[in-house]
Amino acid sequence: MTAARPAIEGWFVDGDEPSLTGKRCDECGTYVFPPRAWTCPNPTCRSAQLSDVALSRTGTVWSYTTNHYEPPEPYIAPDPFEPYTIVAVELSGEGLVVLGQLDGDPAELRVGDSVELTTGVLYTDDEGPATIWRWRRVMQEATS
């Protein structure tokens, strides 16, 4: 069996507590995702020094949508195609809204729900499984 590898290098760290990897400006503290190598995006800052930072693993749902048609390439869709949900999530600490696929059933999802980061297999090709970050709804009121 081939080991899983990330579908993109350097954008997230897998593991028990996976996290997205952003950049934070050494000078003004502005965050940016996806990570980028060049200057700080804040127009009032001239810094070119950005450091890797693990972004908040939790956030709230800004919006979501389920796609019922197979997208064109380069998306690698399962055969047969299955609808999938994309969530826009407001991270709890960085003032960023980040997209990701939903891990779970969208039927109960609402704007404002709490979610946390997880990972899963995006597709499998000749080199084996490729993983990606996903968002998973956090059960707020567990039955006691």
Binding site: T30, T65, E73
Partner: protein, 395 residues
């Protein structure tokens, strides 16, 4: 400051004709020149709006159209700004006129589109966000429209019925438009029974991709007076603004918004800025509008635009729609052309087509689509990667 005059307008009908885009552009250009009563050989500047789906001729659209019409030695420029390309090409032309560098300019945009979803440029392109959003997320264009629509539902109580009513409203106006690809009235039931694409948006809520061409002839006020060109319709403003950091609304083709953690929230969201800059330049406000043509890539997005262009406060677009205010015959008709719902999108031609419609309206030549007593019209649109597009025309 002297004005720039819309001397002529022309369109090749929208459809899925499958022919060379140059043919549509030339047809639209000839119609616009005839409409202006100006010979091609008198055009001093050609401003092309590019298409990126038709190979090299599309990247140099201005020269492509000039060659097709016959070389005259006219100066040329070609602009690409995604959906905003047409407005950018108009702005380039009117700025040359305002600078006194020319008196007669021809602006042309045309496209031939493939079937199905618009897809990114091919190949293996892992440093291109437009490629990566498909690869890593399956984030099609309609995904972003679905996100905006769902947010309206959960935040403001919008319903699928509201979205359907936008489509029905636009189709009722668009059925009278000879240039529309779908000149037919749809019913609420037809919309609600169409297949789900990006929940909550159904097929009939989403604009198709179309072939089409549109052109305008712009002239200086002096030229118009010297050559008896009617000065009925004037360009009062063209807004081609970019976002102001931080842009806090998730936008195509991005994976994330800018961060508001350090910079704080912007004074206005980007789409509000687009119209705001146009109003500022024209010295007008939303209360002055007779009509608006906005970019209904989805019928839900039209409701966002009502708020972005200041027709109502956030959260009240559904009320404006349901009160009939934006219907033909209402207080402030929106998309009397039928909008993208009736046309489908021919990217580089669409912002020019919006200007054609407002011009017909301000001349009183819109036939069964006519907005009574139209004096001021605004177009609004937004191009991928941060291109604003808004034009205000006045009588």
């Amino acid at each position: 400051v002297s004005s720039v005059i819309v001397a002529g307008i022309g369109m090749h009908p929208w459809g899925k004709w499958g022919r060379n885009f140059v043919e549509y552009g030339v047809d639209a250009a000839r119609k616009a020149l005839d409409d202006a009563g100006i010979a091609w050989t008198d055009v001093q500047f050609v401003s092309g709006a590019d298409t990126v789906r038709n190979g090299y001729p599309g990247y140099v659209a201005g020269a492509t159209f000039a060659q097709a019409l016959g070389w005259t030695g006219a100066k040329v420029a070609s602009s690409y700004a995604a959906c905003a390309s047409g407005a950018t090409a108009i702005d380039v032309a009117r700025m040359r006129i305002l600078a006194g560098a020319c008196d007669v300019a021809l602006v042309v945009g045309a496209d031939t589109t493939p079937k199905g979803f618009l897809a990114p440029t091919g190949g293996d392109r892992p440093d291109d966000p437009d490629w990566l959003r498909f690869r890593l997320l399956g984030a099609t264009n309609t995904t972003y429209f679905g996100l905006y629509a769902r947010r309206r539902m959960d935040l403001y109580g919008a319903t699928e019925l509201d979205f359907a009513k936008v489509k029905v409203k636009n189709s009722e106006a668009g059925q009278h438009n000879p240039n529309a690809r779908y000149p037919k009235a749809f019913t609420v039931e037809q919309v609600l029974e169409s297949p789900m694409v990006s929940d909550p948006l159904r097929l009939l809520n989403i604009c198709a991709t179309s072939d089409g061409g549109a052109a305008v002839v712009l002239v200086s006020e002096d030229y118009a007076k010297q050559h008896d060109v009617p000065t009925t319709v004037k360009v009062a403003a063209v807004s081609t603004v970019t976002p102001t950091y931080p842009n806090t609304v998730i936008e195509m083709p991005n994976f994330a918004t800018d961060s508001a953690a350090v910079a704080g929230l912007p004074e206005r969201p980007f789409r509000d800025d687009i119209a705001h800059a146009a109003y500022e330049e024209a010295g007008l406000g939303p209360e002055d509008l007779s009509l608006a043509e906005v970019y209904d890539l989805s019928s839900a997005l039209e409701l966002d635009w009502y708020e972005n262009i200041g027709l109502c406060p956030p959260g009240e677009a559904e009320k404006l729609l349901n009160d009939g205010d934006t219907n033909l015959g209402g207080r402030i008709p929106v998309n009397p052309s039928g909008g993208l719902g009736a046309f489908g999108e021919a990217v580089p031609a669409q912002a020019i087509a919006q200007v054609c419609e407002v011009t017909w309206q301000l001349r009183g030549h819109a036939g069964a689509r006519q907005v009574e007593g139209a004096r001021v019209g605004l177009t609004a649109n937004q191009g991928l990667f941060g291109h604003g597009s808004s034009v205000i025309l006045t009588t």
